[in-house]
Structure formats: C-alpha cells, structure tokens
C-alpha cells in the first residue's frame, strides 16, 4: 500500500475509481433521499438527470437547448484555443530559444500567471464591448499567460547536449535550435497546450456570464436566476464532461504523436 512506485493493474484502478465516484453519488442520493438538505440547495441526482433530459430536448422549440449551448461554448474554446496556440507557442519558443528575448518579454508575461485574469474582465468589456470579441479575448488571455511560460520552459528543458551536438555538426545557432532543440520540446509543448485548454474550460463560464445569451455559462447563469438548481448541476456536469473528454483526447493524441522520450 505505502509504496509510491508500485503499479496498480488497469482493471483494479478502474474499479477503485468507479467505486469512489459511486460512493459519492450514493451519499448524495442518501442525503437528498432522507431530506437532510432541501432541493433548493442540493438537487437530488435523479432531479439532475431529469433536468438533463429536459434540457436535452425542448419539444416546444423543437431543438436541444443543451446541445446549442454546448456548441456555442465549444466553438468559443476552439477559436480561442487556435489563437492561443498560433500566437502563444511561437512567443514561448522564441523566449525559450534566447535568454535575451526571455529577459525582454518575461516581465510582460510571468506576472499574469499568478495574477487574477478574471480581474481583467471589466477592462475587456470596456475595450471590446460585451460581444464575442470580449469573450474570445478573455479566454485567450486566461490561457495564453499559462501557455507561453510553459512553452518556454519546455524548450529550456531540452538538454544542452543536443544544441551543442548540432552546432558541432555544422549547424548555425538558429539551425541548432530549430533542428536540435525545438523538435525535442514538442511533447512538453503538447502538455502545455493541454493545460491551456483545461484552463479555458475553467474560464468559459466566467466568459459567458457577461451578457449571457448563448453557451453553457449562460445556461447555468439563467438556471441560477430561476433557482433551478437541478439545471445548474446539469450544466456543470456537461462542462466537467467536456473538459474531461478534451483532456483525455489530447493526452491520447500526444502519446500517439510523440511515443519517444528525451533522455
């Protein structure tokens, strides 16, 4: 039991994980079933399932509010995600490749890693209004301040031996970085992107609180306004589920693309 280096068989691991989830669900059902907490504070699991079904298909409108909200949120994360990667990765690469560039840019980037990006929301609203641009910009900022330093560190984590070796074989300093260092930083950069996307999923509700019209954040916000706690829970479950799916998808993709490790 107390051996941090021992391995758990995958089947056992799955059983243990499932067991703890079911335990929490059971306790939740028990607390609600015996009426320990009222439905206004904690909806029962079956109420959440019911709300989920209700949100999944609205017969009156002939559409699925949940699906619509999900698509809006997903597309926002997707757009912001592409921007984060296209802009953040090159900046991180350059910072990692050159201590001079890093010294120049890190005062602009590093403080935001620990600063509350949420506090920037009012400023973004003033600059960009309450439309899509603001929401994308907020997601972008929230994620890019994590991504850039992580990409930089990924580059720096590549042992110097690779750069020196490329130089000895006739590479210019830039060629040594491009052919000898950057390719080996890819697995860690993939990790950084995975973290950045996870961060965006945590910020999506905040981004969609303002001028909530479409999206999962809006769905939760609206439900809260009408004290429909079951719907709030259903919305949260969907976001957690989406975050989990993207996360495990990206981890699997990384394993597929980069099955090697840097010695």
């Amino acid at each position: 039991m107390w051996n941090p280096y021992s391995e758990v068989a995958p089947a056992t691991a799955r059983r243990l994980g499932l067991g703890s989830v079911l335990t929490v669900l059971g306790l939740w059902a028990l607390v609600c079933g015996v009426g320990l907490v009222g439905p206004a504070k904690l909806p029962s699991p079956w109420a959440v399932v019911h709300a989920f079904i209700q949100l999944s298909w609205n017969a009156q409108l002939g559409s699925s509010p949940l699906m619509e909200a999900t698509l809006w949120s997903v597309s926002r994360v997707l757009i912001a995600g592409v921007l984060v990667v296209v802009i953040g990765v090159p900046i991180g690469l350059l910072m990692g490749a050159s201590p001079r560039i890093n010294a120049t840019l890190s005062p602009l980037v590093d403080p935001f890693r620990s600063a509350p990006v949420v506090a920037l929301l009012p400023i973004l609203v003033m600059w960009l209004g309450i439309g899509e641009a603001m929401k994308i910009a907020f997601l972008f900022l929230g994620a890019v301040v994590y991504l850039v330093p992580m990409v930089r560190d990924a580059v720096r984590a590549v042992p110097q031996a690779y750069w020196i070796s490329a130089r000895d074989l006739g590479a210019t300093p830039w060629e040594a970085v491009w052919h000898g260092v950057f390719p080996l930083a890819r697995p860690r950069i993939a990790d950084a992107i995975t973290v950045a996307v996870s961060v965006m999923w945590t910020y999506i509700t905040v981004a969609e609180y303002v001028n909530a019209q479409k999206g999962l954040g809006q769905l939760i916000q609206n439900a809260r306004r009408f004290s429909a706690m079951d719907q709030v829970f259903a919305g949260i479950v969907v976001i957690v589920g989406l975050a989990l799916v993207t996360y495990s998808g990206m981890v699997a993709l990384k394993r597929q693309l980069y099955p090697w490790e840097v010695e």
């Binding site: 031996a161 690779y162 070796s165 130089r167 000895d168 090697w260």
Partner: protein, 290 residues
C-alpha cells in the same frame, strides 16, 4: 572541410587520406574564479603539432583540462570566457578562431534525436545549410547507407534510439560524425559510459572505421589501456594546470590484441604512464597540504 564534387566521389571512402595539419602554440586557459577573485589556470602552456591522419590519444587524470583543450580545437567556447586565454590554434596554417567546419566532435553523450530513426539520425547533419549546399540529396542517401553498413547498423536503419543499446547508440553518433567525412575528428571520452565489453567492441569498430576512412583523430581518455590500444601517439597531460608531461608514438599495428597489451613494450609504456600520473598526484597532494 573541402567540398566534395558529387560525381567524382568514390563509392567507398578508401581513397588516400586528405593531408591535414593542426598546430597548437602556447595554449593557456584561465577561468575566472566563482567568487570573482582572480582566475584559475586550467591549461598552462601547451604546444602540440599534428601533421598527418592518425589517432592521437590525449590522456590525463580526470578534470585535468584535456576536454578543455579538445573543445578549443573544435572551436566550442564556454559562454563569456575568452578561449584560449593566450596562444594560437592553426589548422593547415590558418588561425582557427571560433566554430569552424574542419572538425566534427563526438561526445560521451551521443545526443541522438529520439524522434528520428537511425537512418535519419545519421542523415541529420545534412539538414544544415552548410552541408545541404555541398552535397546532393541522392549523394546523402548513398553516404548514409554506406555509413550504416560500415558501423553494422544496416539492418536497424528504421529503428529509433530507444530501441538500441548504448553501444549501438554511440555507433549512430559515430556514423553521424563520419558521414561528413571530416578531416579532423575530436572525440571526448566517447566510450566512457559503456560497459567493458561494449567499449572493447567500439574500440575495434573505431579502428576498422579509421582504416577505411582515415582522418586526424584526437581522442580524449583517462583510460591508459584505451590509449595504448588505439593510439598512434599518446600525449599525457598533468594535473591542472595541465602541461604536456609525456608524448610518444606507438608503432605496433592495429588492431592490437590483448596479448600485445601484456608484451614487454606495452607493459613498459603502461608503467611509464602510471609513474608519471602518480608523481603528478603526489605533487598535487603536497600542494593541497601546503
């Protein structure tokens, strides 16, 4: 390195070796002390001359500055330090300052790219403009194939470094250096991390490669046996600050057998080296106690 004319190049690189000379004059290297008070002298006036393709062993105790000297020859400089502090290095009579493409280096750490196959690792240097503009893609393909056969990895061209043993990985690194057909090859304890048996195999491999593709090798080691087995010439450096304390040639043909190592000649050479190494160590101790 002289540019190769693609069509005129022989298939096997067994042509008569290109002449090469390297001369070190009055090499001194000092590093600033960590606390900023003055400087530490690591290399204390070295003069060496290499005039023909041959295997030259640079032998010395650990930390004696032999790697520093080797790196100087290769133009690899530590950041922010003038290298060498004084003295001159010339290759074919031309002063050599900074990185240059007359030499290729092989380190103990082979630094093969883990994401590339053995074939692509050996072809790796040809991604750089320096070589790309000299050698056509088809020529590269031919050379890489030849090289893989020469180091006995022809059948493993599509494997990745993680699927190879340490010795095989060092072979890849060696092939990646020799595929450039350097006139000068600098080796910094390349087999230091290998187990005894693999190391022996690699030494034999190096000898046979050198027979096929002769160049000027300067090989740093702290292993007396390795020096005696491989060297046309053995240069002994003292404890730091390093000076040349011995310099002799060995005429015995390679590959040299274990039997030869037990011969009177080899035993005498070994004792000669050991005596000087011990003498140096004692002087070092006295200096410490004073």
């Amino acid at each position: 390195m002289t540019p190769n004319v693609d069509t005129a190049e022989p298939v096997a690189a067994s042509a008569s070796p290109a002449p090469v000379s390297m001369r070190l004059t009055g090499i001194v290297q000092e590093y600033p002390r960590a606390d900023g008070a003055g400087a530490v002298r690591v290399v204390d006036g070295i003069d060496l001359e290499f005039a023909r393709p041959s295997i030259n062993m640079l032998l010395g105790p650990s930390g004696c500055g032999k790697s520093t000297v080797l790196r100087m020859m290769g133009g690899v400089r530590p950041f922010g330090v003038k290298t060498p502090t004084t003295g001159r290095i010339e290759i074919d009579g031309r002063p050599c300052e900074g990185a240059h493409d007359d030499v290729v280096m092989v380190f103990q750490r082979y630094a093969n790219r883990p994401d590339l196959t053995v074939h692509d690792n050996v072809a790796f240097p040809f991604r750089f403009r320096l070589w790309k503009k000299q050698i056509s893609a088809s020529m590269v393909e031919q050379r890489v194939k030849e090289m893989l056969e020469m180091v006995g990895l022809g059948g493993k061209a599509n494997l990745r470094p993680a699927q190879l043993s340490g010795g095989q990985n060092q072979r890849v690194a060696l092939a990646r250096a020799l595929v450039l057909r350097p006139r000068i090859l600098l080796m910094d304890e390349p087999f230091g991390a290998l187990d005894a048996q693999t190391r022996e195999e690699m030494q034999q491999q190096l000898v046979s490669l050198w027979e096929q593709q002769q160049c000027l090798i300067v090989f740093v080691t702290h292993d007396i046996t390795e020096a005696l087995l491989l060297g046309d010439r053995v240069i002994l450096l003292s404890n730091p600050p390093a000076k040349v304390t011995d310099d002799f040639t060995i005429t015995e043909r390679r590959p040299r057998s274990a039997l030869w190592l037990r011969s009177t000649e080899a035993q005498q050479l070994e004792e000669r080296l050991l005596r000087q190494l011990h003498a140096g160590a004692k002087r070092g101790q006295v200096r410490v106690t004073v």
